[in-house]
Symmetry: C2
Subunit: 114 residues, 2 copies
């Protein structure tokens, strides 16, 4: 089965550091390195009263982090295209930065072309 991209969907629960724009930015940068993708743009947005959104647009698609500190929850997406790239390399990075008690990982093949 050949697909255009691999889309990793991560659900993290019981996390720390969810209200830190610095941690979100650092996690995005380290995921970019770990997945060996080419960064085009990185932005982090804090919310009031709490919560952070961070996005890294890469040539090979995107990495997105949304946090809800009030639930100890983060929704993270890592979408890569190109056969050399492995979005699973993001998992140890997010474990290190957000220290989840529980993590659920789902991988979707996007754009199945045959």
């Amino acid at each position: 089965m050949k697909s255009v991209g691999r889309h990793l969907i991560l659900e993290l629960w019981g996390c720390k550091n969810l209200n830190s724009t610095e941690k979100v930015e650092q996690a995005l940068r380290e995921i970019v390195d770990a997945c060996d993708v080419n960064l085009l743009d990185l932005r982090v947005y804090p919310f009031t009263p709490v919560g952070v959104t961070g996005v890294a647009v890469v040539s090979e698609s995107h990495i997105m982090i949304h946090t809800w500190p009030e639930y100890g929850y983060a929704a993270i997406d890592v979408f890569t295209c190109g056969e050399r790239r492995d979005p699973m390399a993001a998992v140890p990075v997010v474990r290190e930065h957000f220290v989840p008690e529980r993590i659920q990982v789902m991988e979707m093949a996007r754009g199945i072309v045959g």
Copy 2:
């Protein structure tokens, strides 16, 4: 079942207008309006030789469009939080702009809290 967000995953095949940054931007703006979400940032990136990535960061999460004109394929994600928001409102907008021959829609509940 209560969840933090609704994440719509769209696979579009047999599309038109996939190499147009203008169409991608216009589609993002109209999805923002249709879903009644609050736009924080909108960016569109053209690729060489073909392909476009567009992202709208909204207070209620994000909308992302990646196109592969060589396959007639677009991967679109519409992630919204907040009970009033309906990401399904994006579907007629993308149909209008990219005229897909075939569209697959999957909805994931993100952050199920009880």
